[in-house]
Amino acid sequence: MFWHNFKYELISGLRVKDVIIWLIIFPIILGGFFKIAFNSIYEKTTEFSAIPIAVTETEKNEVFHKVMSQISEGDDALFKVTYAEKNEAVKMLDKKEVYGIIFTDGGLSLSVSDNGIEQTIIKTFVEQYIRQEKIIKDTAMNHPDKLDEVILSLGNNVSANKNIPLTNGNTDYFITFFYNLIAMVALFGSITGLHISISNQGNLSPLGARKCCSPTPKSISLLAGLMGSYILQIICIIISITYVAFVLKIDFGNRLPLVYISGIIGSLMGVSLGFAVGSFGRMSTKAKEGVAMSVSMLSCFFSGLMEGDMKAIVAEKAPWFNEINPAALISDAFYCLNIYDDYDRYIKKNITMIILAVIFVIIGFMLTRRRKYASL
């Protein structure tokens, strides 16, 4: 009987076209939007690139000129320098073509039109230059014999500070939007899960009423329903991940098979969530769909689908919530795979997902099984 039910569950699942189609079309369309929108943001905002500045030389300053050409050369150049007359430079600043103008008249001075980190870096550079001048002057006055040594040491590239890279993964944090997109697909599985409990409850659907008077035990027909939905949902999530990883070419790190596994576990959790929601109370199908959608959407929202910073804010204010929020668990699992070398946190996230899925299924079974109706 199990296989009979299972077979028809699969067939009828495939016939509920809108759910399945949307579960596949949705990530394709939205993922495309994300890809277009986030393509260049990381380079534009977070990653360092040479800062365009203008230099207006009212007085020739050979040393400064030399320093400028030194730091604006090569791959790791600090500035992109344009030499210009004052009027022209001001025009460039107005059009935001440059972040600041350095004037060399006697001392150095700086003009900016805004506050910001680029401006601060220019300011730091100008200060550095002024200070080194001061050090040299100080030494020339107090210890003229050491002057050469001091100048040499100022030009030294210090290696006092050692970088410890924390991760070998993809550090572009805009990919968390794609993690959340996949989490959303997984949680939309709750809509499929919902229909299992509804089609087994006599008071909600004619199919449920028919099933109530069949000799098949509820546990078997529920189990068959769950299995059918799991399989459909797993197919959807595999298509989504494949699309994001291979068509959109989003870098998930070098452990792609594990990404699929977490996606699959996540979708089991999503379907089970819907199954549990569907079993609660006597609300109509539409109301339950509403609840399932709301739970999924809010969960994704707190995991950062609409506002990328959201998860970090939750981590600060209420860290426990990230440990149980289904969408956050899924996207965190992807994040761990990308960023961490070890598996501790990754395994913990997946186990939590499995526990949640089991809890949801148990709730669903307890509420749907053995329910009898005096009249329908």
């Binding site: 809108d18 759910v19 949307w22 949705f26 369309i29 939205l30 939007f33 994300f34 277009i36 929108a37 943001i41 534009k44 905002t45 977070t46 360092f48 107005d94 150095l108 001075s109 003009s111 900016v112 039109s113 805004d114 506050n115 910001g116 980190i117 601060t120 870096i121 300011k123 730091t124 550079f125 200060e127 002024i130 200070r131 100080d138 030494t139 210890h143 050491k146 040594e149 001091v150 100022l154 030294n156 006092a160 500070n161 050692k162 970088n163 410890i164 890279p165 924390l166 944090y173 939309f188 109301a287 769909e289 959608m293 709301s294 959407m297 609409m306 506002e307 970090a312 981590a315 961490y340």
Partner: protein, 389 residues
Amino acid sequence: MQVFKAFNKIMISRIPIAMIWIIIFLVISIITANNSNDYTEFIDTKLDICIFDEDNTPESKALKEFLGNKHNLISLENDKDTILDALYYERVGYVLTISKGYAEKLESGEINDLFTNYHVHDSYSSTLVGSLIDEYVNTVRSYQISGEGLSEAIKNAEDTLSQEADVKTQSFSEESKENAQYKSDFGYYFQYLPYVFISVIIVVLCPIITTLNNREIKNRTNCSCISSGSQSLQIFLGSIFFIVAVWLFFIIAGIFVKGGFYIKREWFGVLNSFVFILVASAIAILISSFSPSSTGVNVIANIVGLGMSFLCGIFVPQSLLGNGVLKIGKFLPAYWYVKANDMIYFSGDVGESFSLSKIFEYIGIQMVFVVVLFVLVMLIMKAKHDKAE
């Protein structure tokens, strides 16, 4: 007024699901209003940095204090995962560890491996703080070489390093003062409005119209004594009633979020939002003419809402979007809404400078979208009608 009453009944049943968008929207706008110093705007020079002092000597404390004067020191748990998360999400700009033996090494003139720093992004903040630390060490070294003792060298170095450059801030538009009275924090409230308008209107209006146009219900209404003109009029009235109610709700909620009444230029923002809610309604009516299922409606609301938000510069400012995206955006109404909104609240920053003709131009373009969408709806309805006959 039977049709109107039925309209309201269905509407009320859809309100709970619309609430989730309203909640999401209000949470986002409250967060952005309190969180304005995110990655695009660093207020002056202060970054959040974290220092672990393993040396714990007067010298290392002096460095910590020096850095603390220039930036904000925050404390983190000394645990690799916590640090990694904080750096990854840019909750902290720089994490420095002063190695054991810092003072001794400095004393003996050795400057290798005095510090370590954790590294995730090649970011502006790591460049900024890194160069400050290099300079500190360099300056201390230089004074030492010139023959001073360590403590004196540190003192001199701090003295030298506290010299600041002369920075003039040029302001170009005479209107910058004028611009300053429109708070950009509140501008985000209006910037996010299209998202909530589209989502809420689609999830509520589409099911109502789809239900009322359901063939059986339609046939039943048609054989009643209500003329088809009266039917349409009642549906139209119901829609207008709902749209205006949603719009008023958000305009009034805006007054509370802002903590004050709208002033001068902001009234154009209010007008802009009204025109956009008409656009959203036209989109919703267009979608409902395809009679989607109830699940379908939810998913469409998400795709249209999120899609337009990401392509037109609602969630991500237009200035950060690539040219290709902006070209696509021009064919979507929200693009013009955001352009008008940028002009009102972010003029002189990311927005163009304010001009009446431009505002009306952008609002006008949105009106054209409304007209085009309604013409489309008419055509589809006519095609369906012809087919039915």
